[in-house]
């Protein structure tokens, strides 16, 4: 850890940062989520035999904007398809996680403060910085939006090119399209959307994004006047990169999509992070030491201990405020009778080390949630489609021939509440049967459920 901290010190004095870095931290989180989830098995069930390592192709002519955007990424981070638009399923998820904030203005929608229910608000940066921003914008440089949509709403917003509806649309087509080529293209599309949704959730693992601390994303880091960003998120990128992202601490399961972000019980990722960690501009206030020293808090949590160790804080390097699990939350120091708090790189590295497995756990759970719907098929003289926990929707049954071409055998409405969804006569020929449910689950959440059974024994 000390070597990493030394490397960070070497690099950060002139570094730069922004969100969790898309091509490293975000791509790595999405890959870890995919590898730790049930997605591999789901892909195999659907006929993508290589699962997460199945090559999927999006011909550049079919999605020119997507392919052009992906060409902006560095191939070394594993999310750029080859010239014909081919890469593995795992890489398509990483691709989605890497481009969720392209163009950059979309990143303004990756903030959510559960206390105020607000998203990104551009901070007042003072007269000179504000003027400099305006001039830079007028000459075509980076423009920072004044406001963003709260992340929890952004995932379903119509303006979001990778919203949940888009994911569902692509997922349905990845099952129902006639040819293997079409299904490959749509599955890649579904995985890109899923990766982008994971990115939005993952961003809420950064304390500044869930504590209304937009100013933390304007820290001048020495690489020129444009080189502003969050030092915390750069620490994560340098220490863990894409490949070093830790495996999930566990898998978080929730009944509702939004609950992964924030819920009434305060167990969404945004809730947990915002109440467990400080961000650079929401640290306890600088306070004059007196008989009863209680620095004012910007928010109730995380709370301070009943007594600060002011004696230790008088040392040159001050002392450390630690959370219940021993993770550094801030350093504090008494100087000239005043106690002040700050976050240094070592402290941020401890926080990142504690936070990333949690983010990974939420992302894994969310990925399983998106692909959760499962149908059970039995094929004798009749095909019977059954499932648990589904509400109203439609069930469509397909037969796939030896060449992998699928044809619909029929579609039926189901009211929900029954385990058995549909039955029909088994076709005379075909390699296997695939069933697709689209509707809502028992909690009223949109869901796509799929299942398949081979016909080889007939």
């Amino acid at each position: 850890m000390k070597r990493i901290a030394a490397a960070l010190a070497l690099t950060l004095f002139a570094g730069t940062a922004h969100a969790w870095e898309a091509e490293t931290t975000q791509a790595g989180l999405a890959e870890q989520a995919a590898l730790s989830s049930k997605l591999h098995k789901r892909l195999v069930t659907l006929g993508f035999d290589g699962g997460l390592f199945e090559p999927l192709t999006v011909p550049p002519a079919d999605a020119p904007t997507l392919i052009e955007t992906l060409k902006l990424l560095s191939p070394t981070h594993g999310a750029v398809p080859d010239a014909r638009g081919r890469q593995t399923a795992l890489s398509w998820i990483a691709a989605g996680a890497s481009i969720a904030d392209v163009p950059a203005k979309l990143a303004a929608n990756h903030f959510y403060d559960p206390l105020t229910k607000r998203g990104w608000q551009r901070p007042d940066r003072g007269v000179l910085a504000g003027l400099s921003d305006s001039i830079r914008e007028s000459v075509g440089r980076a423009s920072v939006p004044a406001k963003g949509m709260p992340a929890i709403d952004w995932i379903t917003a119509k303006d979001n090119p990778f919203n949940v509806d888009g994911f569902i649309d692509q997922y349905v087509k990845a099952v129902s399209a006639a040819t293997p080529g079409e299904r490959s293209r749509h599955m890649a599309g579904a995985l890109v959307a899923a990766g982008a949704i994971l990115h939005v959730l993952g961003d809420l693992g950064a304390p500044s994004r869930v504590r209304g601390d937009s100013a933390a994303h304007f820290e001048p880091l020495g690489g020129g006047p444009d080189d502003l960003g969050s030092r915390f998120e750069r620490v994560a990128a340098l220490a863990f990169g894409r490949l070093g992202i830790p495996t999930p601490s566990r898998v978080i399961t929730r009944a509702h999509l939004r609950d992964y972000f924030s819920d009434a019980e305060g167990t969404g990722l945004a809730d947990v992070i915002s109440t467990s960690y400080f961000s650079p501009n929401t640290l306890p206030a600088t306070t004059r030491v007196g008989t009863n020293t209680h620095p004012r808090l910007a928010r109730p949590l995380p709370a301070l201990p009943s007594k600060l160790n002011l004696m230790a804080a008088t040392r040159d390097d001050g002392t450390t405020l630690r959370g219940p699990d021993g993770t550094c939350l801030a350093r504090y120091r008494v100087e000239h009778g005043v106690v002040s708090f700050h976050l240094d790189d070592d402290c941020m590295l401890e926080e990142v080390t504690a936070i990333l497995p949690e983010v990974s756990a939420y992302e894994t759970g969310l990925l399983d949630f998106l692909f959760r719907g499962e149908l059970t098929l039995t094929a004798g003289n009749e095909i019977v489609v059954a499932a648990k926990g589904l509400g109203a929707g439609t069930v469509e049954i397909f037969v796939e021939d030896q060449q992998g071409v699928r044809k619909s055998l029929g579609k039926t409405q189901v009211a929900g509440g029954s385990d058995q969804l549909a039955r029909m006569a088994t076709p005379d020929s075909g390699a296997r049967i695939i069933a697709l449910f689209q509707g809502t689950d028992a909690q009223g959440e949109p869901i796509v459920a799929v299942g398949a059974v081979a016909l080889t024994n007939r």
Partner: protein
């Protein structure tokens, strides 16, 4: 020094409240602020982050992300040089402030020479407002664990020993208990890398299924003849012959995608017409099919003249389209099952001898990279 372009300093100490002297001073200060802000805004041509690696293994100062880079690739066990390893380098670019977006990348593909040495030229000029965010070097040779300049394979932790110059890359031999799934993630992407590593996909997938990989013999010397176009020709090779002093942008040709049996590399002369471009196409086939492919080229290409002075068979060809002459050289290596077609614009290769000399160099490199009697993609 890592920064490039004009040095810009903010003038925040000018931000004092206007005193009682009044409007005149405030006006002057206001104008100063505007001028300084304008200078600050306009002078960001491009910037380079501090490199997270050293300039040399024995130096304390950081290297430059811009490059150049050079080093040597050795077998970690025997400490002997590894020739013909793929050397893939990429610079990550970004633009923006606070909310940042990717701005593309620059790639270089090459291979180590007989002594295991590699050299990567410094990054050229960049568009305005673009920052160099990162540099990654990847070295790959089938039969070995790949090397990345930013991460170690065994624990995926940050690599601390990469240096810009005199870098030593120790490639560890592949062991069957290692994970192909982890290795594929580790190597990342890029057309040349993907072409070389696609054989690992099935084993990676099998691992996720809980099955044992195929157990293919990957000991060095048993790895088959995996070679891609980018390994056979570099911009340095071209410039050495043609004396061209401009820059090339490299990447696969867009007319036909790379596959397990075909790869290409396009050297697009930056800011010049196509007549300055060079391209190489390589087919790696079973010997009989290579022969067929070569015969097809003979019949398809215009102005073919058989020479048979490179490899088993060779030809030169000249095509003149709307006054734009393209010179081509093709050759077949029947025993290795490899067909190569090199094309070179008339401004780059002013005589067919230029194209022939470059093709001779390609063949020399091919013989070095692919042992005789090894069929492409087929292990011994």
């Amino acid at each position: 020094m890592n920064g490039v372009g004009p040095v810009c300093n903010g003038g925040s100490d000018l931000l004092r409240p206007a005193g009682p002297v009044g409007c005149k001073i405030a006006n002057v200060l206001g104008k100063l602020v505007v001028v300084l802000a304008l200078v600050q805004a306009a002078c960001v041509d491009s910037a380079i982050r501090t490199a997270p690696f050293r300039s040399r293994p024995d130096a304390a100062d950081p290297g430059s992300l811009r490059g150049p880079f050079e080093g040597r690739v050795l077998d970690a066990t025997t400490k002997t040089p590894i020739a013909g390893a793929l050397v893939y380098a990429a610079w990550t670019l970004e633009r923006g402030s606070a909310l940042v977006e990717p701005a593309g990348s620059r790639e270089v593909v090459g291979s180590t020479d007989a002594g295991g040495n590699y050299k990567i030229a410094a990054l050229g000029s960049l568009p305005r407002g673009v920052r160099v965010a990162d540099f990654t070097l990847l070295v790959y040779k089938r039969g070995y664990v790949a090397y990345r300049s930013d991460r170690r394979f065994h624990d995926l932790g940050p690599r601390m020993d990469f240096a810009q110059s005199s870098n030593q890359v120790l490639l560890e031999r592949w062991r069957n208990e290692l994970s192909h799934a982890r290795h594929l993630r580790f190597v990342g992407a890029g057309t040349a890398v993907a072409a070389l590593t696609q054989w690992e996909l099935a084993d990676a997938s099998a691992e996720l299924e809980g099955k044992r990989p195929s157990g293919e013999d990957l000991r060095p010397g048993h790895e088959g003849a995996y070679v891609v176009a980018a390994q056979l020709l570099t911009d340095t090779d071209i410039k050495a012959r043609t004396k061209y002093d401009g820059q090339f942008e490299t990447g696969p040709l867009s007319d036909e995608p790379d596959t397990a049996t075909y790869s290409s590399q396009h050297f697009k002369a930056l800011g010049r017409p196509e007549s300055w471009d060079v391209a190489i196409r390589v087919w790696r086939l079973e010997p009989a099919k290579a022969q067929e492919r070569y015969e097809e080229l003979l019949t398809q290409l215009p102005g073919v003249d058989e020479k048979d002075d490179i490899g088993s068979r060779s030809f030169v060809a000249v095509e003149n389209t709307q006054g734009n002459e393209i010179r081509g050289v093709g050759f077949l290596d029947g025993t290795r099952g490899i067909v190569v077609l090199l094309t070179c614009g008339a401004n780059q290769c002013t005589a067919i001898e230029d194209a022939s000399a470059i093709a001779q160099g390609v063949y020399a490199k091919l013989k070095q990279l692919v042992p005789a009697g090894v069929t492409p993609g087929v292990t011994k």
